[in-house]
Symmetry: D2
C-alpha cells in the first residue's frame, strides 16, 4: 500500500477512445470497448465516469452516458444498451471528491458549435488556467464549471472565430489551443467521425495507441494490419489487453494524431520552446500507473524493480528479511531483495473487505487505525530484523501504525526504505498533492522521521537514483517504423521531477 | 383526471425565489422556504429540481443543489443542510423526460462571467431559440445543452460586451435580452444580493410576488410592511400559503422587478409592439395551474367553475346527474350542476396507489386499461343518465374506457361535456403538446367523436365561452397601490389561445 | 382527510387470493392478478407486501416474493416474472412501522409441516394471542416473530398432532383453530391446490369472493359460470374491478370456504356461542374501507352518505355552505348538504406532493403545521358560515390548524360536524388505536372541544345514529342463491362498536 | 486466485460473538466490535450479515440488524446506532445465492421460548438434517426455512420438554442437541447474559476465543487478566487484530464454553464415539481461511508455504521461474520457489476493479474470458519456462485462459503445480462443492488435464503430502494452561479429507 492511497494524493483522470475500423455501421461493440477500457483505467479516478459515442455520420448523433462512482456502477446495463450503435466514441474516468451535484464536472464534455458538436475528454491541468478563464470570459462567454475541460471546449469553439461558410479547421483550432497553453494535457477530441488524440508539447501526461485485432489472433505475432477491427487510444496501455487490443505506439509530446476508420495518422508536432526537454511525470512510474503499462518503451513494473535495486545500492541494510507494504511496493521490494541478497517474505495480509465501515468517533476502535486493514503474518518475521520497502511517504500517518504492528508482533527492527525521494513541492499539472506546508518532508518532525514514525531507520531513494532507474531502460526509437523519422531524430529524454526538486517544466503564471 | 395527465401534455417548469428582508445573515431558512415553495409548484414539473442560494456578499458564495425526480427525493436532508446559510436564493422544478444523464438540463443554471456569477431559472420557451442559438454560436460560444435557459445565460453574459473596468449593468443586459426575444419567459436572475424577476412583454407565463410575514400574523389583515421577514416570487401564488407568505402582486407583462433585502422595486417595463395585446396562456386557467392560485386578480378555481356554468348554458343536457372525472374537472362539474340545476354526485373513486405496476404485455390485464385507476360508485348512477364533465380531451383514449365502465355498471346514458375547446394547434411557448397530426381534434375519427369514445353525446365549450369565462372576472387594477399608475393606465386584457385558434401572439420564425 | 390518517390509526392488513379455473397450467397470470389485487387493497397497509404462488401439483412448488413498502416498489418486475407459472396463490399487504429488519413479519407465512407446506395470510388480531403463544411454546415450539400469523401457522401445524400415515385433515385443523380463538381473523390458507378462505365466527374482518370473467364480458349481466377464468377472494370487493372480476358473495361469519379450480364450496360454519351477535367492525364503514367496496350487500360510499344525512338531522346548523376535509369525508359532506339543503362547496385544495419534506425543528416553517397540505379556495367561503364535515376526530391536532386557516382566510364561522361518534376505547381486534389516555375523547380538553380546536361549534354523530345508518341499508339474504338456506335463516345483524362503547364482542383475556 | 473463487465453491458462514467484561452497562461498543469482527470474516460469506445484541438483563431486550450483501452495506450506520446499548451479542455472515427474499435465511435466528429468547448463529451443515427435520415436524412444529439453523433453534426449544416452573437448563439442551447430531457445527447460542460457544465433537468447523485488551496494551506481553475489556469468539482468529483482541485459545472439539462478563468457562466436552479421530476440515488450511488465522497452534500461511515446499519435493520441474496466480496461492508459490531454488517472480497483475461489468452475450469481448482480470507482466517471463503454482483446480476453466495468456505473451513453457490434491467427492458438512459428476477430477477430459487446459505439465500435491504438511506443524497442548489437563491428555490429531478420499468422518444417513 502506498501512502499516496491513504493521503488522498491522486491522478486527475484517465481518457480512452475507440474508432471501429472498416465499414460502418460496425459490428464492434464500441460502447462496451469504451466501458471495459475505462474499467482498466479505474485506478486513475473513481469519482465519476462518462462515455460519448457517435454514429459517425454528418451531422452526427452523439449519445452520452455519465454517472458518479466506479464505471460498473455509473453505467447501468440498460442505459449502456442505448449506446450500442456507436461507430466511435471517447470516455473518461475522473478522480476527486464526491457528491451528486458534481455530475456536472463529469467528462467528456459535449458542446454544440457553429460547425456541429465536439466531445472532449481531458487528463491534466492547465498551468495557465486562470488567465485563460479570464480571457474567455472577457469575450463574453459564461463558464458553468470550474473545470479545465469546459475551458478547453470553449477555447476550441472560440479561437479563431468560427467561419460560417467554410468547413471548420479543427486542427488549426487545436494547434491554436496548444499555443495558448503549454501543459499539461492529454486530450481526446471527437468530431463527427474522427478522434484527435493530443499530447501537450512537454508530454506531461501519458497517451498510447492500440489496435483491436480478432481475439483469436490477439497473441499472435502475425496479426497484420488487415486484421484490424478498430483503433483505441488510452491513458495507459494496460487497458489494451482487457479489450483484446495490441500495443501500437505512444502519442509523442506535442503530437496531434488523427484516428479514423481509415487508421492512425500523425498530423503535426507542436514544438516546445527551444532548449526545453520533455517533462513526462516521473510519478506515473513511481506510483500512478498500473505496473503492466508501458511508457517510453519500458514496462512500469520493471522500472519499479530497478528503483528497488538502486535503493538497495544506495541504502543497504543489516537485516534478516525484506518485505513490502502490499501491494504497490512489491516490485520495488523484490528488486531490493534481489540486489541485497536478503530473502523476500510477506509480513502483512490485507483484508480486502475493509471499507467504509462506520465507526463512531471517540471509541477504542478508532485507535486501531490503518492496522485494521492488515493481518500480521507473524511466523514470517517474529524475532527478525525487517526491511520494509514502501513506494512513497507523504504524511507518515500510514506507515507509523504498520511499524508499530510489526514491532509488537515480534520484529526486532523495522527499517523503512522508500523507493522514491521525498515530495517537497506542489504539483500544478494535474496531481492532487497537499500544500507545501502539509507535506511531511517540509515539516519539523521530518527532521527525525525515523523517530517520528517509530522506525529503526528510514532511507529514501535519491532523485538521481530515481531518474537513472527511469531513464536507464528507455529504448531507442530508431527501429520503430510507426514513428516518423523526424520525430525519432528529435527524441530527447526528460522527466518532470517538480514535486521533488521544485524545478517546473514551464514558468508558472499566477 | 384530465386527459392532459394521461397524454403527457405538460407545463415546462415552475420557478421560485426568496430574499430575506432586514439584516443579514438572516434567521430565515431560505433553503427550506425555497424547497417548500417548489413542492407547492410540483404540479408544474416532476422531472428534476434545483435550488441555488447566495450568501449575498461580494463576491458571493453560491451553493447549488440539484436532483432528479420530485423535490422531496431530489434534495436529501443532509445536502439541504449545507445550503442553510443562504440569505437569498432561487429554485426551479422541471417537467420532462427521465434519465440521470438529464441532470445537466436541471436548472437553475449558474455561470461565471467576467463580473461574477449569475444564476438563472426560467419557465417558458423562446420562440426564436434556433436563431438565437446560431447567433451565440457564431460569436464563438459552445453550448453544452439544448436548454433555452443555458442560451439565456450566455445571452446575458455576451451582450453587450462585458466591460472589464466598470460595474456590470445587468438591467441593461436583461433589457437587451428582452429585445432579442419577445416570448415566452418568466425569469429569475440572481446576482450576488438581488433577484431580478422578469416576465416577457406578452406575459405568457405567470409570475407572482409574495411577502413573508410572521406565522402568527399570517392571516391577519394588519400585518404591516414592518413585519416583513422576506420576499418571495413564484410561478403561482398557491405556493405562498405553504411557506407563510401573503400574496403581494403579480409581475406585469414586460416588467423587470428587483427584489432585495430592502424590498420590491419595479425597474422598467419593456413594451410590446404597438397594438399587440398581452397573451397570458389561457391553459393556465384551464388545466395547468393549481385551483387555489390567483392570476390577474381572480382565483383559478372560480374561473373553472365559470367555465362549467358557461358550458351548461352552451350545452344543456337532458340528464339525471352531473359528475366529474376526478379530480381536476371537479370545479367545472360543480359549476355545470349549479347552472343546470341537476344534482352533483360522485361516480368514480380513484385508487391513489395505482402507479407503475408492471403488467406483462398481451395479457387480459392490459385490456382493463385506465379503468384500473377507478372504482365505480355504482349506487350513485345505476339506472341514471349521467353528464360527465372533463376539463379537456386530447387523444380520447382516457375517457373511452371510463365511459365503458360507467355504462356497463348501469348508467343508461353518458354525456361528455368538456369545459374547454378542442386543442388543434401546437404550442411553441412552453407547453409540450402532441404534433398537429396526433391531436384527436385533427384526426378523422374525431368527426364522430361520440361514436369513437362510446359516449351518448359530446360537446365542448366554445372559444368565446372560454374567453368570456376567463376575462369576465378580471378586476380592475385601479385600486391596487402596489402597481404603478403608469402600468395601471396601460392595463389591457388579452390571452394566448393559439393552441385553440392557431393565432400566435408573435410571428413564428423557423 | 381523516384524522385517522394523521393520527396513525390504521387497519392491520389486506389479504387476497386467486385460483385459476379450468385446466392447469393456466393461461391466467395469477401472480399479476395477485399484485393488482393487492394494489387495490393498498389503503389497508403500506408497510410491506408479499405473495406466494403454487403450481398446484403434489408436492407443490411454492414461489414467494416479499418486500418492504408499497406493492409497486416491493415487487421488482424481474422478480415478479419468476412467479408467473403459478396456478393459484395468496397475497398480503401489511400496515405498520418501517424498517428493513421487519421483512420477517411480512406475510404470507409459509411453513413446512409433516404433510407438506402451507401458506397463510391473515388480517386481524387474535384476542387471546398471549395465552395461545404460551400454549404453543409450552409444547416446545420456538416463535421467531411477534406476529399472530406465525402463531396461526404453528397452531395449524400443531393441533391435532400430525398423523404420519394418513392424509392431513386441514379442515379439521382449521376448525380446531377456530375453536381455540374466537376473533378476529379473516384468513387465507393455501395448501397445494386449494385455498381455504375463513372468517372468524364474529365476522369481525371482511372477506369477499369474486369471479374472474373474460374482460369482454366483464360488465355483461350474461357472463355465465361457463365463462369463469378463475376465482378471487379479497378483504374488499373494491379490488375486483381492477382485475376484471365480478362480485360473487361475502364469506359469512364463521364460514370455511374451499376455493379450487373446480369452484367455490362452503365446507362448514363454525358457530358463535349461543346468543352472540355478529360483530363486523363498524369502522370499516366509517373510515377503513374504500368507498366503492360492498359489505353486507351495501356500498360503503352510500353508508357514509347516510351517516352525513343522519348527522344533518341530529346536528343541524345555521350556516351558508357545507364542505369537507378532502377526501375521505366527502360522501358524508354531500349527504349532510343534501339533507340540510345547504349548498356544497369545496373550501380546500390538497397538495398531493406534500410528503416527507425535511423541515428542521424550531423554525417558522414548523409552525405552519398541516395547513401546508392545503390551499384555501377563498372565494368559495370568504364572508360565509361554513359547516365542515369530517369523518372522525382522534387527537384534534389535524382539524385545529385547518379551522384556523379557514377563519383567517375569511370564514365567519366554522362548525365542525363529525360523521362518527368519538372513539373512547382501545381496539384489541386489529386496529391500531392510541391508548385510552391518549384519545382526545378521554382527555380534559375534550370537555370544551370547540374551544380547544377553535371551532364555532362541534357535534358528533350518535352511536345509535351510526348504527342505524349502517344497519338500515343491509338487504335481506333471502334471494341470494349463492348462500345456503341454512345460513340465510340464521342471518342476524350486529356490529362491533367496542371502540365507541367499550362493549367488546368477546370477553378479553389478559 | 483460486479456482474455488471462480467456481463458486465456498464456505457456508462465519460466526462472531462478543461479551463485555466488568460492570454493565459497558463502555465497550459491542455492536461495532461485532461489525468489525464480521468484516474480518467476510471472506467466509458475502450473501448476508446479521447481528443481535442483548442488554443482558432479565428479561433481556434483543436488538437485531440484518441485511443482504457485504457487512458494510448490510448495516446502515443509522441502524447500527440503535444497537449501541448492547452488553453482549452475536453475529453471522452468510455465504450463498442472492435475492431479497432470502433475507429470511439470514442469521442469527432469534426465537422466543417458554423460558425467554435465545439467539443462534451457526457455521456448518448437519449431516442428518433431513431426519431431524422430520422428527421436529412430527412433533407438530412448522419450519419456515430450509436452514439448519432454524432446525437447531427448534431442537433447542423442543427437547427435553420445557419445564414451566423451573429455570431452563440450556446446557442440558445443548448437550442433547449434540447427541442428536454429530457434525458439523460451530455454534454460538446467546441467552440473556451469556454466550455458549460450541464446537461439534469432530471439530469439523473452526472456533477460537480472543480477549479484548486496551488498545495501548494490545501488543504488550504483559496485558494481564485484569486488563480484559471483553471476550470475543470467532470462526477465525484473523478477526482478533481488527478489533484489538489477543488470541486466547481454540474451542476444543465437542466442547461447550460459557462466555459471560465473568470470563470464559469450559462447561463440558461431549465425546466422539470410541475410536473416532477429530475431523477438522483440511480445506480450511488449503483455501478457506485467511492466511493470518491460527488453527491448532499454527498459522495458515505457514501451512500453505509447507504445502508448496512439499509440492516442490513431490513434483520438481525443469524451469526458469516460479510464480503464482494471485493472490491466494502466493504462500505456496514462495514455498515452492524456496525449496526448488528457482527464482520467484510475479507474472500477473490483477485489476481489482473488474467486477460485474455488463457484457452482452455473443460478442468478441466475451471471448476474452477471465484474462480480462489480469495484466501480463511480460518482461518477467518472456522467453522463460514458468512454474505456475495454484492452490486448487476444480473445473479448469479459470486456469486455461491464464495459461494461454502467458504462453502467447512469451512464456516458452507453463507448468502447473497444484498445492492440493484433486477434489473427487462431495462435502456434506458445509462446503458448497459441485456434484460428483461436475468435478473435473471425475470427468473424462481430466485424463489428459494438461492437454485440456493447455499446460506443459500438471502435477498435484498428494493426499499424504497435504496431511503431513498440515499435521507436521501442530504443536503439543502440554504447555497451554488455558486448556484443561483432561483435554490435553486426550488430544489426538485428525482431519477431514472426505472431499479428497471419500472417507467421511461419520456414516451418512439419507
Amino acid at each position: 500500500m502506498s501512502e499516496f492511497e491513504e493521503s488522498g494524493i491522486g491522478e486527475e483522470c484517465g481518457v480512452f477512445g475507440c474508432v471501429a475500423a472498416g465499414e460502418w455501421p460496425t459490428q464492434l461493440e464500441v460502447a462496451q470497448v469504451l466501458t471495459l477500457g475505462l474499467v482498466a483505467l479505474q485506478h486513475r479516478g473513481q469519482e465519476s465516469a462518462g462515455i460519448v459515442t457517435s454514429n459517425g455520420v454528418n451531422p452526427p448523433t452523439y449519445n452520452t452516458l455519465k454517472g458518479m462512482g466506479l464505471v460498473n456502477n455509473a453505467f447501468p446495463p440498460e442505459d449502456l444498451l442505448k449506446l450500442r450503435y456507436g461507430n466511435l466514441g471517447i470516455g473518461h474516468t475522473r478522480y476527486s471528491t464526491t457528491g451528486i451535484s458534481e455530475l456536472q464536472n463529469c467528462q467528456p464534455f459535449v458542446v454544440d458549435t457553429l460547425h456541429g458538436k465536439i466531445a472532449v475528454a481531458h487528463n491534466g491541468e492547465l498551468v495557465n488556467a486562470a488567465a485563460l478563464r479570464k480571457k474567455v470570459m472577457r469575450h463574453g462567454v459564461g463558464l458553468s464549471t470550474s473545470s479545465d475541460s469546459e475551458l478547453i471546449t470553449q477555447l476550441l469553439a472560440l479561437t479563431p472565430p468560427m467561419e460560417e461558410l467554410d468547413a471548420p479547421d479543427w486542427v488549426a483550432r487545436i494547434k491554436n489551443l496548444m499555443h495558448e497553453t503549454p501543459t499539461s494535457y492529454s486530450l481526446l477530441v471527437m468530431y463527427t467521425d474522427v478522434i484527435y488524440a493530443i499530447r501537450d508539447p512537454y508530454g506531461n501526461r501519458p497517451l498510447s495507441i492500440g489496435r483491436l485485432v480478432p481475439i483469436s489472433k490477439l497473441h499472435t505475432a502475425g496479426a497484420g494490419e488487415g486484421d484490424t477491427e478498430g483503433w483505441v487510444v488510452s491513458s495507459e496501455s494496460c487497458s489494451f489487453q482487457s479489450i483484446g487490443a495490441k500495443y501500437y505506439r505512444e502519442v509523442m509530446p506535442g503530437e496531434i494524431v488523427q484516428i479514423s476508420k481509415h487508421g492512425v495518422k500523425s498530423l503535426s508536432i507542436v514544438p516546445r520552446p527551444e532548449g526545453d526537454l520533455p517533462a513526462f511525470c516521473i510519478f506515473e512510474y513511481v506510483y500512478f500507473a498500473r505496473p503492466d503499462s508501458i511508457f517510453e518503451g519500458q514496462m512500469v513494473y520493471t522500472v519499479r524493480q530497478r528503483c528497488g535495486r538502486q535503493l538497495a545500492i544506495e541504502a543497504p541494510t543489516e537485516a534478516d528479511v525484506v518485505s513490502t507494504v502490499p501491494e504497490s511496493a512489491t516490485p520495488a521490494a523484490l528488486g531490493y531483495a534481489e540486489q541485497s541478497g536478503l530473502p523476500y517474505v510477506e509480513v502483512l495480509c490485507k483484508n480486502r473487505y475493509v471499507g467504509r465501515t462506520f465507526i463512531q468517533p471517540n471509541t477504542r476502535l478508532r485507535q486501531l487505525g490503518v492496522a485494521k486493514k492488515f493481518g500480521a503474518l507473524t511466523d514470517n518475521f517474529a524475532g527478525k530484523r525487517v526491511v520494509l520497502v514502501d513506494d512513497s511517504i507523504v504524511r507518515g500517518n500510514t506507515i507509523a501504525p504498520i511499524i508499530k504492528l510489526l514491532k509488537e508482533a515480534g520484529a526486532t527492527e523495522v527499517h523503512i526504505r522508500v523507493a522514491s525521494p521525498p515530495i517537497r513541492f506542489p504539483c500544478y499539472m494535474g496531481i492532487n498533492i497537499p500544500t507545501k506546508e502539509e507535506l511531511i518532508a517540509n515539516r519539523p518532525e521530518f527532521k527525525d522521521i525515523a523517530g517520528y514514525i517509530g522506525a529503526s531507520s528510514v532511507q529514501y531513494l535519491s532523485v538521481e537514483g530515481l531518474v537513472s532507474a527511469v531513464q536507464g531502460g528507455i529504448p531507442s526509437l530508431q527501429k520503430d517504423e510507426r514513428i516518423s523519422t523526424n520525430t525519432k531524430a528529435s527524441r530527447r529524454v526528460g522527466h518532470c521531477t517538480a514535486c521533488l526538486t521544485g524545478k517546473y517544466p514551464v514558468e508558472l503564471e499566477w
